[in-house]
Amino acid sequence: MKQTLGVKIWRWSIISIVAFYLLVPLYAMLDFSTKPFGFADTGRTFSAWATIGKQEDLLQAVTRSLITAAIVMALILFLVVPTAIWVQLKLPLLRRPFELLCLIPLAIPAIVIVVGIAPLYRWISINLSESPITLAGVYSMLILPYTYRSLSAALDAVDIHTLAEAATTLGAGISRVIFGIIMPTIKTGIINGSFIAIALVLGEFTISNILNFKTFQVVIAQIGRTNGQVAVAVSLASLLFVLVLLLLIPNKKRHGAILDVDIA
């Protein structure tokens, strides 16, 4: 079908407006982070960007946040997803309660959660570990509303009952059905859910700050108090990093072979 000129103009103007809205703040960040110090100077300097690599605190925080994100990812893949599938397949009566349970974190303000879990984390800090990585526990709970939504949408879109029964008659046990058949089938839903989760973990500030854990966002905020330009440069870099992740991972491997656990 050929587009008329009017439609084309209309489309491009919408795209332009949205692009303008999204890109101007990013440009402003880039502009600010590359401005030389002082009012008289013109030209550009990348000294703020160059300092990123020299911030010991920052590099450690990034590593820790990435490890935390990886743990949360693992919890999603091996706990949340199989549980959601199990409920859908075997316990249809529990679907509603399970959904409600997963949505609870959305209804409770972060500050309330912090007050609730502070004593628990005090105990964890004293008895187990002081590492911010322990935050993976509370994060994996916070991400539930988002991951569950995309998972349940993906599960509703395919007839997983028939797929499961077909695999069963061919000799597959329940774990093979879940990890080998259903999970690769709803791969897109899992990836979407995981991305939201990673973005949430890397961007979380309130809880980690109040609990006094030096995560990525907390360290950015600290740097921002002493050097605004570096903080903005780091923020922009982290945005670009997530963008690259988003572009890379879904195309990384064909049809979810990553998840196709082949025990045989």
Binding site: T162, E165, A166, T169, G171, G173, R176, I181, P184, A264
Partner: protein, 349 residues
């Protein structure tokens, strides 16, 4: 229970809430036989098939396959090959990978080379060798069901279970594929249970057809016998078309349309009854002084169907070879008589 039975379903019962899906179903299938279960929706035919597959728990009953009691064996260990109504290919695997899936899971795992040979043989058998590397979404509905059939057969199943595998396909593909299923089934000699609500499908490919009603087997017989010699009025009316014509029954015969014909066992034995007459048992001859008039004629190709009103007000449908019906159109006067075929007679009212 016959001694030659390879598969035995003994007194199966299952209820869902207040609905009795199976109510004492007993069925024997001989080795290499294709039995079709036919019935209206909700008659329990799919429940019976799923029970045999191990996908449906039973309230009561026993399942015996090849001399072994499999009633409590899990579905994954029963070795049944199943083809589903809905497309059930694993979407992330190619046609070949789908076919090989069951082989990978066998207890005595086959080598990857013999798996390849086996899957190639089966893809060839269903005529889809050239589609081995296609993903399910790249295949048509008919092709997907063929791959599903190959996948079910790959594990050399003890019994092949077909759960309305053709109902989602269009008419032409359906006819083609059902003939192919029969060809493959005979070629491999696989004992097969086929569930369908389409009587033409059941009658055309099965060795024996079982008609189910309210969770029980109403009658099981070879297609021709089921059609010509129904044992109950339900079977007579469910399989094929019938004309209900009332008449007087006495001494194993009924008088209808001016002829006396024998009644089938199970019929009403005296008084007034309603004979269930097949359209092709009615003979129609053009006759200007005949006792009946054709109200409508439909040409069906090899045969012709005539709607006829007899002078006494009885309306019947007759079906005769197109060559015999030449010149008989709507409005024609005809004389109607019965061919000498036994009929089933149900109680009047």
């Amino acid at each position: 229970m016959s001694a030659s039975a390879y598969v035995q379903l003994v007194d199966l019962a299952k209820h869902f809430g207040k609905v009795k899906a199976l109510d004492g179903l007993t069925l024997d299938i001989a080795e290499g036989e294709l039995v079709a279960l036919l019935g209206p929706s909700g008659c329990g035919k799919t429940t019976a098939l799923r029970a045999l597959a191990g996908l449906q728990e039973l309230d009561r009953g026993q399942l015996i396959v090849d001399g072994k009691d499999v009633t409590f064996q899990s579905a994954s260990k029963r070795g049944m090959g199943m083809v589903f109504q809905a497309y059930s290919l694993f979407p992330h695997m190619t046609a070949r990978e789908n076919v090989e899936y069951g082989l990978k899971l066998r207890v005595h795992k086959t080598s990857s080379q013999s798996r390849k040979t086996r899957s190639a043989d089966l893809l060839d058998l269903v005529g889809l060798s050239s589609h081995a590397n296609h993903y399910p979404h790249q295949l048509s509905g008919g092709q997907q069901q063929r791959i599903a059939l190959a996948r079910a057969l790959a594990i050399s199943p003890k019994v092949l279970l077909l759960d309305e595998p053709l109902s989602a396909l269009d008419a032409k593909v359906r006819t083609q594929l059902r003939e192919e299923i029969r060809r493959i089934q005979i070629e491999l000699g696989t004992t097969t249970l086929f569930v369908t609500h389409d009587q033409e499908e059941a009658l055309s490919i099965a060795d024996r057809v079982g008609v189910m009603r309210n969770g029980q087997l109403e009658q099981i017989a070879a297609p021709a016998e089921l059609y010509d010699r129904p044992k109950t009025s339900f079977v007579a009316e469910f399989v094929g078309l019938t004309n209900p014509i009332s008449g007087k029954v006495s001494g194993g015969s009924i008088e209808i349309l001016g002829s006396v014909v024998k009644t089938l066992p199970g019929s009403v034995s005296s008084g007034t009854g309603i004979a269930l007459v097949r359209p092709e048992s009615i003979d129609v001859v053009a006759n200007n002084s005949g006792n009946a008039q054709v109200t409508a004629a439909s040409f069906l190709g090899a045969s012709c169907r005539l709607n006829i009103t007899i002078n006494d007000g009885t309306k019947v449908t007759a079906q005769l070879p197109s060559s015999d019906a030449a010149g008989i159109g709507a409005g024609a006067n005809v004389s109607v008589s019965l061919l000498d075929m036994p009929v089933f007679v149900k109680a009047a009212g």
